[in-house]
C-alpha cells in the first residue's frame, strides 16, 4: 500500500504544483494578498508530498519489493543495504524523482526563508518554480514513472549497474542536483523580476544568497563527481571533458559569472540586463544538461535508459522554458534603464572582464560538447572532440582570468588605480615568480609551462589574501588596531578570499598532476617490483574471493621506501554476474598531497598480470581547492548583509522563524 500511496502523493504534488503555479501569480498581478499567500503553503506542501513519494520508493528498494518495476530493474536482494538506498537514484526514474524533490525543496526554502522578499516577488518566484515543477512532474508521471507495478512480481531483480555500486553514488548525484536545480531559483527570480518589470539593486541582493547556495552545491557536486571518476573508473584521470561532465561544468561557469555580475548590480545597479540574462542562461544550461544526459543523445554511465519519448518531452520542456524566458527577456530588456556608470579600470571593469572570460569559456565548452552531436545529426559523421581541443581553447582563456582574480578585489568601485593595485600585489607577484623559478631549478627539463602554472597558483594564493591585508591596514598601523579592523570586515570579504585561495590551490594541483606525475604500465609476476614516485611497489600476488554480489580478484601490493615497508594496498577487479559487468577498484595511497594509484589490468598468458601504476603528484590539491571554494561560499552565506532586508514590522517574526529553524 505504501508504494501506491507514494504514487498518489506524487500525483497530488502535481495538483498542488498547478495551484502553486497559478494562484500566487494571479495574486501578484492583482495585488491580492490572499492569493499570494497561497504560495508558501503550496511550496511547502508540494515538498512534503514529493518527500512522501520519495520515501515510499525508498521503502520499496529497502524491502526489495520487486512488484515495483523500477526496483526489479535496478536492485537485487543481495545488494548491500547502502546500495539499495543509493540505488533509489541510481537509475533514470529515481534520479528524476530526486531532481523533483530538490526542485520542490528549493521552492520550500524560499517559502520558509524568503521573509525578506517583497510579497509580490516572493509569490512570483514561487509561482515560476511551480511551473518548472509542473513540467517535470508531468514528465515523470507520464514518461518515467518509478511506481509502475508488475504482476506477478519476479523473485529477483536485475541489479544496479556495478559502476554505480559505490559510496560515491550516495553523495555525488544529490550534491550535483542541489547545484543544478538550485539555479532554478535564480531563474525563477529572473523571470519574476521580468514579469514585474522591477529589476534593481535590491533584486540583486535578494537573488544573491540563492545563487551562492546553488553554486556551492554545484562546486561540491562536480568536485565529488571528479574524484569518484578518478578512483572508480580506474584510468587515473580526474577530468575527461566527457559531455556529461561538461554539461555540469557549463552551468558552473555561468553560475560563477552570475555571482560576480550580481555583485556589480547590487552595488551599482549596473549590468542589470546582463545579470538577468545570466540567471536565465545558467538554468537553461542545467536543463540542457538534463536533456543531454536523459534523452540518450549521449551514451555514458549516466545514460541509464534511452527512450525517445523522454528525450522529446525534455526537449519540449527545454523549448518552453528557455524560449519563453528569452522571449520575455526580449520584451522587457529594452525597458530597463541603465544603471551606474564606471571607468574601464575599476572594480566593475574587473568583474566585467571576469564575466567576459567566463562566458567565452562556457561557449568554448558548449561548442566542444555540442558540435560533434550536431555534426553527427547533419552529416552522420562521427568526430570526437576531446581533451586536446579543450586544452587549446579553454586553457588559454583561463590564464588572463586567473591573473585578474587577485587584482579585481583591490580595485575600488567606479574608477580604480590599476598600477596601485598591482603595487599592492607585488608580494604575490614576486612570490609567484620566485616559486616558478624554484620549480624550474628543481625540475630541470620540466616543461616551462608547468613552472609558470605553479607560479600562477602561488600568486593566486597570496593574492587572495591581499584584500584582507590591505583592508586591515596591516603594516600601516598598529597591529592591535589592524586586528580589530580585520574582525570588523564583512564575512563576504573572507568568503571571497577563501574561494579565490581555493582556485589557486586547484590550479597548482592541476598543473602539478599534469606535469610531474609518472605512469607505468607493466606486466608483473608475483614478487616483481617497480619504482614510482621514489617508492618501490612490490606485487605480492593475486587472490580470488567472493563479495556479496560479485566475484573479485584482489591484487596485493607492498610499498617500500628506502628499504623499509611503509604501507600495503590492494587493487581489485570485480565481476558482477547479475549484469555481466566488470569494474575496477583502484588501490590509492595518499602521501602528503600526492597519491600512489594502482589499477589492475588483464592477466597475461604466462601467469603475470598487467598493472598500471601512477604516481600522482599533488593531485589532492585539485579537490582541496574546491573544498576551500565551498567554504568560501558558506562564509559568504553567513554574512549578515544577506539576511537583512525585511521591513521592521516583519523583522521580529522573521528572526523568530530563523531562530526556530536553526
Amino acid at each position: 500500500m505504501s508504494t501506491e500511496l507514494g504514487h498518489f502523493a506524487l500525483i497530488l504534488a502535481l495538483a498542488t504544483a498547478i495551484m502553486q503555479s497559478i494562484l500566487p501569480m494571479v495574486g501578484a498581478a492583482r495585488s491580492d494578498t490572499r492569493l499570494m499567500n497561497v504560495a508558501p503553503m503550496a511550496a511547502v506542501t508540494c515538498f512534503a508530498l514529493v518527500l512522501l513519494s520519495f520515501a515510499a520508493l525508498t521503502q520499496a528498494y529497502l524491502t526489495s519489493d520487486f512488484s515495483v518495476l523500477n526496483v526489479f530493474e535496478n536492485s537485487h536482494s543481495l545488494k548491500p543495504t547502502l546500495y539499495k538506498f543509493t540505488g533509489v537514484w541510481g537509475n533514470h526514474e529515481g534520479s528524476m524523482l530526486l531532481w523533483i524533490l530538490i526542485l520542490a525543496f528549493f521552492g520550500a526554502l524560499v517559502a520558509v526563508f524568503g521573509n525578506n522578499l517583497p510579497p509580490t516577488l516572493k509569490a512570483n518566484v514561487i509561482g515560476v518554480q511551480g511551473w518548472i515543477l509542473v513540467a517535470f512532474l508531468l514528465f515523470i508521471i507520464f514518461t518515467s514513472n518509478p511506481f509502475i507495478r508488475i504482476s506477478p512480481p519476479p523473485f529477483e531483480g536485475q541489479d544496479l549497474n556495478p559502476i554505480l555500486q559505490d559510496i560515491g553514488l550516495a553523495i555525488h548525484p544529490p550534491l550535483l542536483y542541489l547545484g543544478y536545480v538550485g539555479f532554478s531559483i535564480s531563474f525563477s527570480f529572473a523571470i519574476a523580476a521580468l514579469i514585474e518589470g522591477k529589476i534593481d539593486a535590491a533584486w540583486a541582493r535578494w537573488v544573491r544568497p540563492w545563487t551562492l547556495t546553488a553554486w556551492m552545491f554545484l562546486t561540491a557536486g562536480i568536485s565529488m563527481g571528479s574524484y569518484w571518476a578518478y578512483y572508480e573508473l580506474g584510468w587515473g584521470g580526474w577530468w575527461f571533458w566527457d559531455p556529461v561532465e561538461n554539461a555540469s561544468f557549463m552551468p558552473w561557469l555561468l553560475g560563477t559569472a552570475l555571482l560576480h555580475s550580481a555583485l556589480v548590480m547590487e552595488k551599482r545597479e549596473a549590468l542589470k540586463i546582463w545579470t538577468v540574462l545570466l540567471a536565465i542562461m545558467a538554468f537553461s544550461l542545467s536543463l540542457l544538461g538534463t536533456f543531454l544526459v536523459r534523452s540518450g543523445v549521449l551514451t555514458s554511465v549516466h545514460a541509464f535508459a534511452t527512450d525517445p519519448t523522454r528525450g522529446v518531452f525534455i526537449l519540449m520542456i527545454l523549448c518552453v522554458f528557455i524560449g519563453g524566458a528569452l522571449t520575455l527577456f526580449a520584451f522587457r530588456a529594452s525597458s530597463l534603464r541603465a544603471g551606474g556608470i564606471f571607468a574601464p579600470i575599476s572594480r566593475e571593469g574587473a568583474l566585467v572582464l571576469n564575466n567576459l572570460f567566463l562566458t567565452t569559456a562556457t561557449m568554448t565548452v558548449f561548442v566542444g560538447t555540442l558540435y560533434p552531436l550536431f555534426l553527427e545529426v547533419i552529416s552522420e559523421e562521427k568526430i570526437s572532440v576531446g581533451a586536446p581541443f579543450f586544452n587549446l581553447t579553454f586553457g588559454p582563456l583561463m590564464v588572463p582570468l586567473l591573473l585578474a582574480i587577485p587584482i579585481g578585489p583591490l580595485l575600488s568601485w567606479k574608477r580604480g588605480d590599476l598600477l596601485g593595485a598591482m603595487q599592492r600585489l607585488y608580494v604575490a607577484i614576486l612570490g609567484g615568480f620566485a616559486v616558478a623559478l624554484v620549480v624550474i631549478y628543481v625540475q630541470t627539463g620540466a616543461p616551462i609551462l608547468a613552472a609558470v602554472g605553479i607560479g600562477i597558483g602561488i600568486y593566486l594564493i597570496i593574492g587572495s589574501m591581499a584584500e584582507l591585508w590591505m583592508r586591515a591596514g596591516l603594516g600601516r598601523m598598529a597591529f592591535s588596531k589592524s586586528l580589530g579592523r580585520l574582525k570588523g570586515l564583512p564575512r563576504s570579504i573572507y568568503g571571497t578570499a577563501m574561494a579565490h585561495f581555493g582556485v589557486g590551490v586547484t590550479v597548482i594541483g592541476i598543473v602539478a598532476v599534469s606535469a610531474f606525475s609518472s605512469e607505468d604500465i607493466v606486466a608483473m609476476q608475483p614478487k616483481d617490483q617497480i619504482e614510482a614516485g621514489g617508492k618501490t611497489i612490490i606485487f605480492e600476488g593475486i587472490e580470488n574471493a567472493q563479495g556479496p554480489n560479485y566475484q573479485v580478484q584482489i591484487g596485493h601490493f607492498t610499498i617500500m621506501e628506502a628499504g623499509r615497508e611503509i604501507g600495503k594496498t590492494t587493487s581489485e577487479k570485480r565481476f558482477y554476474p547479475a549484469r555481466q559487468m566488470p569494474t575496477t577498484e583502484a588501490g590509492i595511497v595518499t602521501y602528503g598531497a600526492s597519491q600512489l594509484y594502482v589499477s589492475l589490468g588483464d592477466p597475461q598468458a604466462n601467469g603475470g598480470l598487467v598493472v598500471r601504476i601512477w604516481y600522482k603528484s599533488w593531485v589532492t590539491f585539485i579537490w582541496y581547492g574546491t573544498v576551500f571554494m565551498v567554504l568560501g561560499a558558506i562564509i559568504s552565506l553567513s554574512d549578515r548583509r544577506l539576511r537583512v532586508g525585511a521591513p521592521a514590522a516583519r523583522k521580529t517574526k522573521a528572526a523568530a522563524q530563523q531562530g526556530a529553524s536553526a
Binding site: 500500500m1 505504501s2 508504494t3 501506491e4 500511496l5 504514487h7 498518489f8 500525483i11 497530488l12 502535481l14 495538483a15 498542488t16 498547478i18 495551484m19 492583482r30 495585488s31 491580492d32 494578498t33 490572499r34 492569493l35 499570494m36 499567500n37 497561497v38 503553503m41 506542501t45 508530498l49 521503502q59 524491502t63 526489495s64 519489493d65 520487486f66 512488484s67 525578506n116 522578499l117 517583497p118 510579497p119 509580490t120 516577488l121 507520464f142 507495478r149 506477478p152 523473485f155 534593481d200 539593486a201 535590491a202 541582493r205 551599482r268 575600488s412 568601485w413 567606479k414 579592523r485 570588523g488 570586515l489 564583512p490 537583512v644 532586508g645 525585511a646 521591513p647 514590522a649 516583519r650
Partner: protein, 407 residues
C-alpha cells in the same frame, strides 16, 4: 479500503492547507515598498561602517550615499496601490479547491494500481518451482537409486540396470533422468513397445504435456512393435488434438475405445479427452467398447525382469491419467511463472499455449498469447508463428492493432 481512506485524508489535508490563506483576512501586505527601503537603508549603514573603518575616503562615501539615496527616492516614487486582503467567500474558494482532488484522483485512477499490495521479498513465499522440483522420496528408495546410480557409473553398459531404474526415475518425478535411462535401455537392450512407449511418455511429461515430434516417433515405433498397445494410441491421439486436428483426435480416441475392453482402466481418461475436444461434460460421452476383459491377452509382451505386468501397466496408466492431469496442471503453472522471467523463450510460449488447450483453458491460452506477443511482436517471424499456432488451436487472437500490444 484503508488505502482510499488515507488518500482521502491526504487530499483533504492538502486542500485545507492550500485554501486556508484564501479564507482568512490578511493584515499586512499594505506596504510592499518597505522591503526595498530596508535594503537601501542597510546599504547606507554599510557605507557608514566602511567609512569609519577607513575603507572609503570621504569623497567616495559621499558619492555612494547620493547614489543610494537616489534609489531610495526612486523606490518611494513607485507608489503601488494597497493590496487586497479580505477573506474570500466559500462560493469562490470551493471551485478552486475541488480542482485539486479532481486532478489528483483523476490522474491516479488512470495511471495507478490501487489494488496492488506491497510485496517485500521477505514476506513472500519462495517460487513454486523449488517446491515442484523436490518431491518427497522415501529414504529407502532414494538409497536404492543412489546404489543403482553408483553401479551404473561403474558399468554404464548394463542395459538391465537402466531398464530397472527408468520407471523408478519416472515415479520420482525425475522425468529427464527417466528419459535418458529409457534411451540407454533401448540402446543396450533393444527396442520394445513398452520401452518406446515409456520413453515417449517421459518426453511428454518433460515437455509439460506436449506431444513433441520426438515423443511421437517413439509412440509410432511402439505401435509398430505392438499394433495393439493402448498407451501409444492414447498419446498419439492426444498429439493430434494438440496440433488442432480435433476431429482426427476424436476419431483416434474413439478407435482406441473400440479396441479396448469396457473395464479397461484408460477408458475414463479417453472419455475426458473426447469431452475436452468436444467441449462437453465427460459423463455425457458414451463410448463404443469391446465387452469387458476379453482381449486382455492381445497386448502380449515378453515379461522382463523387474518390469510390471500388463495389468500393472494398465492400472498404472489409469491411475496416472487422473494424477497426470493434476501434474500437468502443476507443470503448466510453473512454466507460466517461468515465462514471466524469461519472456523471450519462444518454445516455452508455444508449449504454454498448447498446454492450456490440452487443459481445456482457452481463456488462459488467450491471455498467454497476449503476453507472448509482447515479447515477440506480431510483425516478427516468431510472432507470426505464434499467431498461426493460436489460430490452429482455436485461441482467440487479438486482432486489433497488434503494434499496440508491444508497449
Amino acid at each position: 479500503m484503508m488505502f482510499w481512506i488515507i488518500v482521502l485524508g491526504l487530499t483533504i489535508l492538502t486542500v485545507a492547507v492550500l485554501m486556508r490563506p484564501l479564507l482568512r483576512d490578511q493584515q499586512d501586505g499594505s506596504d510592499i515598498l518597505a522591503y526595498d527601503r530596508e535594503v537601501y537603508k542597510d546599504q547606507l549603514s554599510e557605507i557608514d561602517r566602511d567609512f569609519e573603518n577607513g575603507l572609503l575616503t570621504e569623497n567616495e562615501a559621499e558619492l555612494a550615499r547620493i547614489e543610494i539615496s537616489r534609489r531610495l527616492i526612486a523606490a518611494d516614487a513607485k507608489n503601488e496601490g494597497a493590496a487586497k486582503g479580505v477573506a474570500m467567500s466559500y462560493a469562490h474558494v470551493i471551485p478552486i479547491a475541488l480542482m485539486i482532488p479532481a486532478i489528483a484522483i483523476g490522474i491516479y485512477t488512470f495511471v495507478g494500481q490501487p489494488a496492488a499490495p506491497d510485496m517485500p521479498l521477505a514476506l513472500r513465499t519462495p517460487p513454486p518451482e523449488t517446491q515442484v522440483a523436490s518431491r518427497a522420496v522415501p529414504e529407502d528408495i532414494a538409497q536404492m537409486v543412489a546404489q543403482a546410480e553408483a553401479h551404473l557409473v561403474q558399468n554404464p553398459n548394463d542395459g538391465r540396470g537402466w531398464d530397472v531404474l527408468a520407471p523408478i526415475y519416472f515415479r520420482m518425478g525425475e522425468f529427464l533422468k527417466a528419459q535418458q535411462a529409457y534411451a540407454k535401455a533401448i540402446e543396450l537392450e533393444g527396442s520394445t513397445a513398452l520401452r518406446h512407449a515409456s520413453l515417449g511418455e517421459a518426453i511428454v511429461t518433460t515437455q509439460e504435456g506436449a506431444v513433441t515430434p520426438e515423443a511421437r516417433s517413439n509412440f509410432l515405433r511402439a505401435l509398430e512393435l505392438d499394433p495393439n498397445a493402448a498407451r501409444p494410441k492414447f498419446f498419439l491421439a492426444l498429439g493430434l488434438g494438440q496440433n488442432g486436428q480435433k476431429d482426427a483426435a476424436i476419431d483416434a480416441f474413439e478407435a482406441l475405445a473400440r479396441t479396448s475392453p469396457a473395464d479397461a482402466p484408460w477408458i475414463r481418461a479417453v472419455q475426458v479427452q473426447i469431452a475436452n475436444l468436444k467441449g462437453v461434460e465427460a459423463d455425457s460421452i458414451t463410448l463404443e467398447t469391446l465387452p469387458a476383459s476379453t482381449t486382455a491377452q492381445s497386448e502380449s509382451q515378453p515379461s522382463q525382469l523387474g518390469n510390471p505386468t500388463q495389468e500393472d501397466i494398465a492400472a498404472a496408466s489409469e491411475m496416472e491419467a487422473g494424477d497426470r492431469m493434476a501434474m500437468i496442471k502443476n507443470m503448466v503453472a510453473s512454466l507460466d511463472e517461468k515465462l514471466i522471467d524469461e519472456p523471450d523463450n519462444f518454445e516455452g510460449w508455444q508449449r504454454l499455449l498448447q498446454s492450456y488447450i490440452v487443459l481445456g483453458e482457452p481463456d488462459s491460452a488467450a491471455k498467454a498469447l497476449e503476453r507472448a506477443l509482447k515479447a515477440f511482436s506480431s510483425d516478427t517471424d516468431q510472432g507470426r508463428a505464434l499467431l498461426a499456432q493460436a489460430k490452429s488451436l482455436g485461441i482467440a487472437t487479438p486482432n486489433a492493432a497488434p503494434k499496440a500490444e508491444t508497449e
